[in-house]
């Protein structure tokens, strides 16, 4: 066996894969000169045998929130190690988790509050004190109007401000500010993330389930890439058992990913045709009566209708083979093997952005296919798991009578809205942005608060997002890094990184539920603060003045706080005016004082939330160990270097509902009749327009993830750059040869939306009509030394296609041209 990979060969091999500087294409500007290398060296740490402080915390380098222990020597965080106590992350930290130190010590970090001095988008700011920044938000400067002016002009329509946030533990804190402020315009990452998958599973089986990959015997992973898009515990559970070691993994992907490399079988499907694949699996399952009849009888609504629909539509493997490019025999084999292993068989739900416009239907078909096997709420199948309760942290939600509802427009043709049928809590970012630009909002939105979110790069059509921010009169950004979005801010409020703050305590549901907390490791550096302190300061500044504006425009409030003769009782010594003032003060204190939400420190709030449900000891334990679940001290055992017991087998939450779906009817919903009137197929149905089509000379553009970066959030991390210096566009080798494109050549990728420049990686791992590159590169913010103009930006090219049901951005519907430059 050839396993001897030498350093020289490794370098050569890696260059072919990732270009680790050196070798093949010479030093890129990024890797830079010697000087650059020495600068980089300065931030690398080394541990010692000195006495150290060990602080349990939670990672924030991606969405997983794995448990870590920070080692602090002389006040410096020198190492992040996995915290073995957390059942979700089971004693592991991925490369990003390890590189968290560089996020903390990144010299490009936002260090002090700033206000805009130059043209919007140019990144010209001056550093100011917190008080000056808060004042600029309320009263504006000569460059931009303040919140008071806008709200007064909009007659206290609180929805004239947009609030948007990226995923994170403190998203909750920011959302409490949004609720207290009283806007109806909340946009989060959902519609550019997992909106359709979560919702489709929700309406079909009543929950977005987890997958028990630790016990599954057969797993279909289609359009999910767990070797590169790491999800805990899924990634750790599955890859220890593939290759004939307990679980057979079928990878279905238009690219040969690292997951494909670790699979037992890989099928290179045509992009956007997974629905046809699932429908054909369903056809075989129904036609050959491979399904779990007892489960179906007890737990399905409209099974006969669905069966009739699938069989009469002719969704045979032969039919699907033409559409998907897969072999008919493979589809038969997979359907039969899946049934043979059920209920320990999983069609993996995945956790990703919406790729195709048919994604909602695809997810519905996947959920129903899974349910046919009976592998729901059961060991080795899809599981609901259980969740430990937490106490409540009450917010302030004043009634603003002048606040309008969310800026959406009813659709005149059907029961839905313009751009999408259903408007979820997170809204449709892309549709909202486009309505704003097209001036078809029901009222004016003039300001935006952005928290830990990078809309400039995270949503298709970067040019449109830039236009939106230019038009927005007051943009306030709370972030740790000078991202492309921060460049469009009027006021920048610097948050400290996750290693410098305690975040809201969180309950993680699953087969082995636990509560975990991100504890502050070191005090905030520079003049930065956690978001709850930022919002405490801000609300102290704006709460009273904003109340005055409400008072001015809100007749109901005026009525409520104006005393009349009848309010005065006989013995009162107060005048009417005095009583009115008292009423006003009481009203303010009880309902409109926004500072109340943030008056307690996060530590105090967490302590209360844990102690309320699990007692004082639990609150203490979570502070000391980062993790809590009942009986942890009894249940938790390290059984070997790589083996941990969190719960005894009979205490695990494999089955919490006796297999019964969690929908309101307690049935799997095959037919959503109420959607039909809104123009949505009530049962998953293939439509001709879903067929994969690419005009001659063009390529379907795919985007995705890898294990070394998380979207744009880590783009400036120097240790991760050490692993992957830039992104590359995958082009089929033969196509590249025909076009004279060699490895490392610069190519321009263009679409109707825009263009980007990126280096080429010719490979057989992708089809001749498809190209791919990883998301999260190509930042335009000059203040990001490492990330600035590094690699190609996918969203500069991806067209703003909107998925019709929830308004999610459909990321894989763009055809591009490529040209060597």
């Amino acid at each position: 066996m050839d396993v001897g990979i030498s350093r020289r060969r490794f370098l050569k091999g890696s260059a072919a894969l990732t270009v680790l500087g050196g070798g093949t294409i010479g030093l890129t500007p990024l890797l830079g000169n010697e000087e650059g290398d020495h600068e980089a060296a300065a931030v690398m740490t080394k541990t010692s045998t000195k006495e150290a402080k060990l602080v349990p915390t939670l990672c924030e380098m991606c969405v997983n929130k794995c448990a870590a222990i920070a080692r602090v020597e002389d006040g410096v965080v020198v190492k992040l190690d996995p915290n073995p106590l957390f059942p979700k992350s089971k004693n592991m930290l991925c490369p990003r988790g390890n590189a968290g130190i560089q996020a903390l010590y990144d010299p490009d970090r936002l260090k002090r509050p700033m206000i805009r001095t130059g043209e919007k988008g140019k990144g010209e700011f001056k550093e100011v004190s917190w008080e000056e920044a808060y004042d600029a938000i309320l009263n504006g400067t000569d460059k931009f109007p303040g919140m008071a002016k806008i709200l007064d002009e909009e007659e206290d329509n609180r929805s004239s401000f947009l609030f948007c946030a990226g995923e994170g533990m403190a998203e909750h804190t920011f959302k409490m500010f949004y609720e207290a402020f009283g806007s109806a315009n909340w946009l989060n990452h959902a519609s550019i993330c997992l909106q359709t998958v979560a919702s489709a599973y929700g309406v079909t089986m009543g929950a977005y389930p987890q997958a028990d990959l630790e016990n599954a015997e057969y797993v279909i992973m289609a359009g999910a890439n767990r070797a590169e898009a790491i999800v805990t515990p899924d990634t750790m559970d599955i890859f220890k058992r593939t290759k004939g070691r307990g679980a057979k993994l079928i990878c279905v992907d238009p690219r040969f990913t690292n997951t494909a490399a670790k699979a037992d079988k890989w099928l290179g499907i045509k992009p956007g045709t997974d629905l046809a694949f699932v429908l054909a699996l369903t056809y075989v399952t129904l036609d050959e009566e491979l399904y779990n009849k007892e489960y179906v009888t007890n737990n399905f609504n409209d099974f006969d209708l669905y069966k009739e629909h699938i069989l009469s539509s002719g969704y045979t493997p032969k039919w699907a083979a033409k559409i998907t490019g897969l072999k008919e025999s493979d589809i038969y084999e997979i359907a039969r093997e899946f049934a043979a292993h059920a209920p320990r068989a999983i069609y993996y739900p995945g956790r990703r952005s919406t790729f195709s416009k048919n994604d909602f239907q695809l997810r519905r078909a996947m959920a129903i296919f899974q349910a046919l096997s009976g592998g729901i709420d059961t060991k080795g199948g899809l599981v609901f798991g259980s969740k430990l309760p937490l106490g409540e942290h009450k917010g302030v939600v004043p009634m603003y009578y002048q606040a309008r509802e969310r800026a959406v427009n009813k659709n005149k043709q059907n029961d839905g809205y313009d751009h999408c049928v259903v408007v979820s809590g997170g809204g449709s970012w892309i549709a909202w942005r486009n309505r704003f630009l097209e001036n078809v909002m029901p009222y004016k939105v003039r300001g935006a608060f952005i928290y830990k979110h990078n809309p400039m790069l995270n949503m298709p059509n970067t040019a449109k997002t830039a236009e939106m921010f230019k038009k927005m009169e007051l943009v306030v950004a709370i972030d740790t890094m000078p991202s492309d979005t921060v460049m469009y801010a009027d006021v920048v409020l610097p948050e400290c990184t996750y290693l410098e703050r305690t975040d809201p305590v969180f309950s993680f549901g699953g087969v082995e539920p636990a509560i975990a907390q991100r504890n502050k490791v070191i005090e905030p550096m520079y003049d930065t603060k956690p978001v709850n302190e930022i919002l405490h300061g801000l609300t102290k500044k704006i709460s009273k003045p904003l109340f005055e504006i409400t008072k001015k425009h809100d007749m109901f409030l005026q009525d409520e706080i104006t005393a009349s003769e009848s309010d005065l009782d006989e013995n009162s010594t107060m005048t009417l005016a005095e009583l009115s003032k008292q009423k006003e003060e009481t009203m303010y204190a009880d309902e409109f004082d926004l500072t109340k939400v943030f008056e307690h420190s996060q530590e105090e709030v967490n302590e209360h939330m844990v102690a309320e449900k699990h007692g004082e000891e639990a609150a203490k334990q979570i502070k000391e160990h980062g993790i809590f679940y009942p009986n942890m001290e009894k249940y938790y055992k390290q059984l070997g270097e790589n083996k941990f017991q969190y719960y005894p087998e009979n205490k695990k939450s494999y089955s919490v509902n006796g297999g019964v779906p969690k929908t309101p009817t307690k049935k799997i919903e095959c037919n959503l009749a109420n959607l039909a009137s809104k123009g949505v197929d009530p049962m998953p149905t293939w439509r001709d327009e879903y067929n994969f089509k690419v005009p001659n000379g063009k390529f379907k553009l795919l985007t995705g993830r890898h294990a070394q970066f998380t979207q744009t959030g880590t783009s400036n991390n120097i240790a991760l750059h050490d692993l992957i210096h830039t992104n590359y566009i995958w082009i089929n080798e033969k196509v590249a040869k025909e076009q004279g494109i060699a490895f490392g050549d610069k190519v321009e990728v263009s679409s109707a939306t825009g263009k980007t420049i990126i280096r080429a990686y010719p490979t057989e791992k992708i089809a001749p009509d498809t190209v791919f590159f990883v998301h999260g590169f190509g930042e335009e913010s000059e203040k990001l030394t490492t990330a600035y103009k590094n690699g190609g930006c996918d969203n500069a090219v991806i067209e703003d296609n909107i998925e019709p049901v929830y308004g999610a951005a459909a990321m894989h519907e763009t055809n591009v041209e490529i040209r060597k430059v």
Binding site: M1, V3, G4, S6, R8, R9, L11, G13, S14, L17, G21, D37, A40, A41, M44, T45, T47, S48, T49, K79, L80, D81, M92, L93, C94, P95, N98, A99, A227, I230, T232, T235, M236, F239, K240, R245, F256, N258, T259, A260, A261, K262, D264, K265, W266, G268, G640, E641, N642, A707, Q708, A719, L720, D722, L723, N732, E764, K765, A767, P768
Partner: protein, 187 residues
């Protein structure tokens, strides 16, 4: 006194490179592709789209083999390279003269020049960091998401590594050279 070895269930490896960063952070290895104590080798799959050979696309995690009969130690003219009491091949940076004989001699290409200490450095099984603090395993073993590695004392018959090597088929790299590596790969 121990006899440390590493057992690698290398089929678990997903090439995420967590071990590479953990190693650099723990041991203060400088950034740069030519400076590393640990690495994952990877091959592109053989074949043409869509008939690609999954088996040819394996990931091969590696590091210094801590040879019992280390060629790098043999050739070192200043005895900078030596075996410590736990059988780990170490380098004394005071004695190293950067002659680089060891780099040439090592059949596994496991040695590199550390610009900070001006030493031809190598993996030490975290001897001066983690093990010196009384911890029982290395940074790479500890952090690995798919748990490729098991670290331990092969002279202790009750250790996990001893058990693994008794029960699982395994091989070592370039064993024909007689270097007697202490990294064992499970099949």
């Amino acid at each position: 006194m121990a006899n440390y070895v590493m057992v690698l269930d290398y089929k678990n490896c997903i090439n995420c490179k967590a071990c590479e960063i953990a190693c650099k952070e723990e041991n203060g290895v400088l950034l740069g592709a030519d400076k590393h104590r640990i690495w994952v080798g990877s091959n592109n799959p053989k074949g043409e789209w869509p008939k690609l050979d999954i088996a040819s696309a394996a990931f091969l995690p590696s590091q210094c083999q801590q040879c019992e009969n280390a060629p790098c130690q043999d050739v070192c003219p200043t005895n900078a390279t030596y075996y410590d009491k736990n059988g780990v091949v170490q380098v004394d940076s005071d004695k190293c003269i950067l002659c680089s004989y060891c780099m040439v001699a090592c059949p596994y290409d496991a040695r590199y020049v550390d610009d900070r200490t001006t030493t031809v450095d190598k993996c030490t099984f975290c001897s001066d960091t983690r093990l010196a603090r009384g911890e029982v395993t290395t940074a790479c073993q500890n952090t690995c998401p798919t748990k490729v590695r098991t670290f331990g004392d092969i002279d202790d018959p009750d250790s996990e590594v001893s058990e693994l090597l008794r029960t699982r088929e395994h091989f070592s790299l370039k064993s024909n050279l007689g270097t007697k590596p202490k990294l064992f790969y499970l099949t």
